[in-house]
């Protein structure tokens, strides 16, 4: 029985964080022309960072909590029963946009690689960090092509960790800012939410649901479908398009700088472990 309860601290802390976050509630933030909304779910991430920075919770608790994310995230999938089914018609009529917007995930290559090379003068690690949003699928692709102990591997692992820590916060703010510009239809923004990571998808979609409550079901259905789609095609997109494009741009940008592009090195990193989200 004692072992049965050994992880109770993790659950109790989770409960306290949920209560605190929900009681703070959502707040609008205005920074000059940029407006965005902070949601309870983002506060839990910030609380987690603070708890770790001040070393309030032991590493063992963090390790216990990690696999629980994978399980609990499925509740989001179950929630989709109420949205995808009834909106199948909308998903089919939006089919062309839904599929083509997947190529938008490549848009990132066009500015992450040039900025990495031209502004920061980065070596091969820019390809690892810049070709995708560095989730599990990207780690597998890079690990397979270059090895995780290469410069590219260092880049993708850095991206993975950045995404784990700041991904949801950045996604939440980014989608909120874009929704406030009024340039995009909610359906277009909804489709953009699906990037292949369930937690980033929820952070992306939250400001949209808040802004267009009447379209909430349609928006969520599109976002969730787009996320499942990205999860399926992500690997092929990376292998066939994103990495070749990144390599081409990498060479081109170094040519613009008038220098020979740096080659990849093998890193001496400690064993890198991949956590399933």
């Amino acid at each position: 029985m004692k072992e049965f309860l050994k992880d109770w601290k993790v659950h109790a802390l989770c409960g306290i964080m949920v209560l605190a976050a929900e009681f703070i509630g959502k707040h609008d933030v205005y920074l000059g022309p940029i407006a965005f909304t902070l949601f309870p779910m983002l506060y839990t991430i910030i609380m987690g960072i603070l708890l770790a920075l001040f070393k309030v919770i032991p590493k063992s608790m963090m390790e216990t909590a990690s696999p629980y994310i994978t399980i609990s995230v499925l509740m989001l999938g179950a929630r989709s029963a109420a949205t995808i089914g009834p909106n199948l018609g909308l998903i089919f009529t939006s089919g062309a946009a839904l599929i083509l917007q997947e190529f938008g995930n490549l848009g990132t290559v066009l500015f992450s690689i040039p900025i990495g090379v031209l502004v920061f003068g980065m070596g091969r690690s820019v390809v690892g960090a810049g070709f995708s949003i560095s989730r599990e699928g990207s780690i597998i692709v890079i690990g397979d092509m270059y090895g995780l102990d290469s410069d590219e591997g260092l880049g993708v692992m850095g991206g993975y960790i950045t995404g784990t820590i700041f991904g949801t916060i950045i996604c939440g703010i980014c989608s909120s800012v874009l929704a406030n510009t009024g340039w995009f239809h909610p359906y277009a923004l909804a489709m953009a939410c699906g990037t292949g990571s369930a937690s980033m998808m929820s952070a992306n979609v939250a400001p949209l649901l808040d802004m267009w409550p009447d379209l909430a079901d349609e928006v969520y259905a599109l976002a969730y479908s787009s996320n499942v789609l990205s999860g399926m095609d992500g690997l092929y997109m990376s292998l066939l398009l994103a990495i070749p494009m990144s390599n081409g741009l990498y060479k081109l940008c170094w040519k613009i700088r008038g220098k020979e592009p740096p080659k990849s090195h093998k890193q001496k990193v400690e064993q890198v472990d991949i956590i399933e989200y």
Partner: protein, 165 residues
């Protein structure tokens, strides 16, 4: 079966799902109260119970399929989505019940417990994060923004072109 019953994969899965559902019901109560349309945990309970059962069915179906030799390892979410799409679509006898009840659980309230677990787990990556170069961090942040903006622009253009909006 190896190990003790409380280390059993299925037991842990069900435990986490139930705890998340309980927290979500309380979070949902606070969230909906603030929005002016309170949904008590009791009202949300039937939907949450069904959601937990749907996830368990999806996991069970997955484990059955994975007994087929050479069956590819697919994410649980894919099985779950297929089951749920049927459950909620027009030919499903459960559509009405599912739509009225599950809609009572606000998506945002459901996300909070999940990200709370993620928040607790985050600390183990912080040290590694500090070791990464600032440049890699900035490039990664650019990719999150670029992916979102790129997809939104294409979706907007295609939806306009095909008359979707």
């Amino acid at each position: 079966m190896t190990g003790n019953w409380y280390e059993n994969k299925w037991f842990i899965r069900i435990k986490i799902l139930v705890i998340s559902a309980v927290y979500a019901s309380i979070g949902n109560w606070i969230f909906t109260t603030k929005a002016g349309k309170p949904v008590t945990p009791g009202e949300a309970a039937p939907a949450l119970v069904v959601m937990v059962i749907l996830v368990i069915i999806a996991m069970f179906v997955q484990s059955l399929f994975e007994r087929i030799p050479k069956w590819p390892k697919l994410p649980t979410a894919l099985y779950l989505t297929l089951i749920n799409t049927y459950m909620g679509c027009d030919i499903s006898p459960f559509q009405d019940w599912i739509v009225t009840n599950i809609s009572k659980v606000e998506l945002m309230a459901l996300c909070t417990p999940i990200l709370a677990y993620a928040g607790i787990a985050i600390g183990k990556d912080l040290d590694e994060f500090k070791k990464q170069g600032v440049k890699i961090v900035i490039v990664s942040i650019l990719t999150f923004i670029g992916t979102f903006v790129g997809s939104a622009v294409i979706a907007e253009v295609v939806l306009k072109a095909t008359g979707g909006i």
